[in-house]
């Protein structure tokens, strides 16, 4: 009986011995830290989803009536009418996610200097490269992933609620389910998030992170004004607008080949996707190259500048 506590004590003291180095996950903890600090990463899309669902409850009252009227229309019009609230939900959550990503990127490396906590972070054995990579992970991976999950759950709830209402009023759910093709559309949403939000927009976020590492104040203005100034200078000096056109192309993912490279919003089940066209587009690789350059500059700034 008496030896047992001793054994436990020995185990504990062994654990605490200075020779043991515990396994660490600096990158994972750095991403976790961003989620602790910027709770809007998941709260903002969740709040939008909540508002959409609340509005959808009112839409549900009219749904049986709408269904009866739709019976006389062609499938395309049926699809258009039925998909509208679902597209609206996806669009609103994606827009919220996009805004969250922009505001996050502007603040990510600026906030830790503003609240002077940077020296605490820099007192830990986490390299500047790891920190910057963890920070760019948020707009490139975490926010799109949350947006996808929240959209998917919201749309499934909407579909289930609609089905319950229709069944309760003695109507068939077949038209609704077949016209929505929800899982096909969800796949397109995922494709769109990966191609557009993650890969195509990467240089935007990387640029904002760089500005966030560099600006002494007002990082948002520094992020927006220089590109604006370059564009204005070009149109005044040369009467051309190549730079604005470049930014516009970058933002509003054009699709002219008939097949969509990045899954145009709103999605429809018949849309043809063109992943090969996306991967061979020079714009993708040029953009990613710029993203890497901006991130490398951000790492250098955080590493070599006087801390405060």
């Amino acid at each position: 009986m008496s030896s047992q506590p001793n054994v436990i004590q020995n185990l504990q003291s062994q654990e605490a011995s200075p020779a043991t180095l515990s396994v660490t996950h600096p990158y994972c903890l750095s991403v976790q830290r961003e989620l602790w600090e910027y709770r809007s990463i998941y709260l903002a899309p969740l709040a939008i989803a909540g508002v959409v669902l609340l509005g959808f409850l009112f839409y549900l009252f009219r749904l049986p009536h709408t269904m009866r009227e739709l019976a006389f229309l062609d499938p395309a019009s049926q699809r258009h009418a039925l998909a509208q609230p679902f597209d609206f939900a996806a669009g609103a959550i994606m827009a919220a996610a996009f805004l969250v990503s922009i505001f996050y990127s502007v603040d990510a490396l600026y906030g830790e200097r503003r609240d002077r906590s940077i020296l605490f972070w820099k007192s830990m054995p986490v390299s500047d490269l790891t920190t910057v990579l963890a920070k760019i992970t948020i707009p490139l991976v975490v926010v799109p992933l949350f947006a996808f999950i929240i959209t998917a759950v919201t749309q499934i709830i909407m579909l289930l609620l609609s089905s319950i209402v229709l069944l309760a009023s003695g109507l068939s759910v077949a038209t609704l389910w077949s016209q929505l093709a929800l899982f096909q559309v969800m796949f397109m949403l995922l494709y769109h998030l990966v191609t557009a939000h993650m890969l195509w927009y990467a240089p935007f976020y990387a640029w904002l992170l760089l500005v966030s590492a560099w600006a002494r104040r007002a990082p948002f203005l520094w992020g927006v004004l220089p590109p604006l100034a370059i564009g204005l200078f070009e149109s005044l000096a040369f009467h051309s607008s190549h730079f604005f056109a470049l930014l516009d192309d970058r933002y509003s993912i054009g699709s002219d080949s008939g097949a969509s490279m990045m899954g145009d919003f709103p999605f429809h089940p018949g849309m043809r996707l063109d992943p090969v066209g996306f991967l061979v587009a020079p714009g993708l690789w040029i953009g990613l190259l710029f993203a890497v350059i901006f991130l490398a500059a951000a790492v250098r700034l955080r590493r070599y500048r006087e801390p405060i």
Binding site: L21, L29, W36, S117, F120, I308
Partner: protein, 291 residues
């Protein structure tokens, strides 16, 4: 191998010279107090040691160049800077999870034990804690890291005397358990007097005084004399003299105790007394220096 070795360390910010050729050598297992007035270059020297600022001259910390090998160095070096602030949104439990997750030498049980002596709640955010509690939390995190070199730049700023005493007691206990090298700067010199093994004064970017505490204690004596004995005392060439309540207090270096005892009351001076004598009465900035 010495833990810190600097030769001709220089750093200028524009036309302001922060470090004016510092030579420094700290051996393993020493506890060095770096004392200096505000703006003397203490923090710049520590920032250079921590790889936070560039410098001219030669500097090696644990055998590495801190500017180019900072990432590797930080696994063995830990610091609290007077300007390092814990982020206001961080919860106490998150702070522990974070350090446990990134630092291979962090001992969670030790941090918990430190915190258990305070009234800090696990669920509180840093912004909800008082200034002293934030410092306590920061110390708990850093002291639970088994670093080879520990740098404490004004670690007890804003703490009351009870906690300061408790902190240095636990620092010493900790040191006897597992010796490591510690560099401390503070204005509260009397707190660290009994803790140090070595002492340096830094003034205007230069090291103006460098001594082990053993030498310090055997070398310096303070003599309190009545006016009648003053000429005789002055003949022994004191390094500094001041008047308190009609008596003269003279500070001597390397004068045998017997010679002084004949003239008046002899005692060992405090660090603050020698500091004032070395740097001058008008240096200022030595807050809380005991008279």
């Amino acid at each position: 191998m010495s833990v810190i070795e600097a030769r001709g360390l220089r750093k200028a910010f524009g036309s302001t010279i922060a470090l004016d050729g510092i030579d420094l050598r700290v051996e393993e297992g020493r506890i060095l107090g770096l004392i200096g007035p505000n703006g003397a270059g203490k923090s710049t020297a520590l920032n250079a040691i921590l790889g936070l600022t560039s410098y001219q001259g030669e500097l090696r910390v644990l055998g590495r160049d801190p500017w180019t090998e900072r990432d590797q160095l930080l696994r063995d070096v830990c610091f609290i800077s007077d300007v390092a602030v814990l982020p206001p949104w961080l919860r106490v439990s998150q702070a522990i999870d974070y350090v446990a997750g990134v630092h291979p030498r962090f001992d969670r049980a030790r941090a918990e034990a430190f915190l258990a002596k305070t009234s800090i709640q696990r669920g509180s955010k840093v912004r909800q804690l008082s200034k002293g509690m934030v410092t306590q939390l920061h110390l708990a995190l850093v002291m639970a890291i088994d670093a080879r070199l520990l740098i404490l730049d004004e670690p007890t700023l804003g703490l009351d005397i009870l906690y300061r005493k408790q902190f240095y007691d636990s620092l010493l206990n900790d040191y006897f358990d597992r010796p490591r090298t510690i560099v401390i700067t503070t204005h509260q010199v009397e707190d660290i007097e009994r803790v140090l093994t070595d002492l340096m004064f830094i003034h205007r970017g230069r090291i103006v005084f460098n001594s082990s505490m053993e030498d310090f204690e055997s070398r310096y004596l303070e003599l309190t004399v009545l006016p009648a004995q003053l000429p005789a005392a002055r003949a022994l060439k004191p390094m500094h003299e001041r008047q308190v309540l009609g008596r003269s207090i003279l500070l001597f270096s390397n004068v045998p105790r017997e010679h002084l005892a004949a003239l008046g009351e002899v005692r060992t001076p405090s660090i603050a007394d020698v500091f004032v004598a070395v740097i001058g009465d008008n240096a200022g900035g030595l807050r809380g220096a005991s008279a």
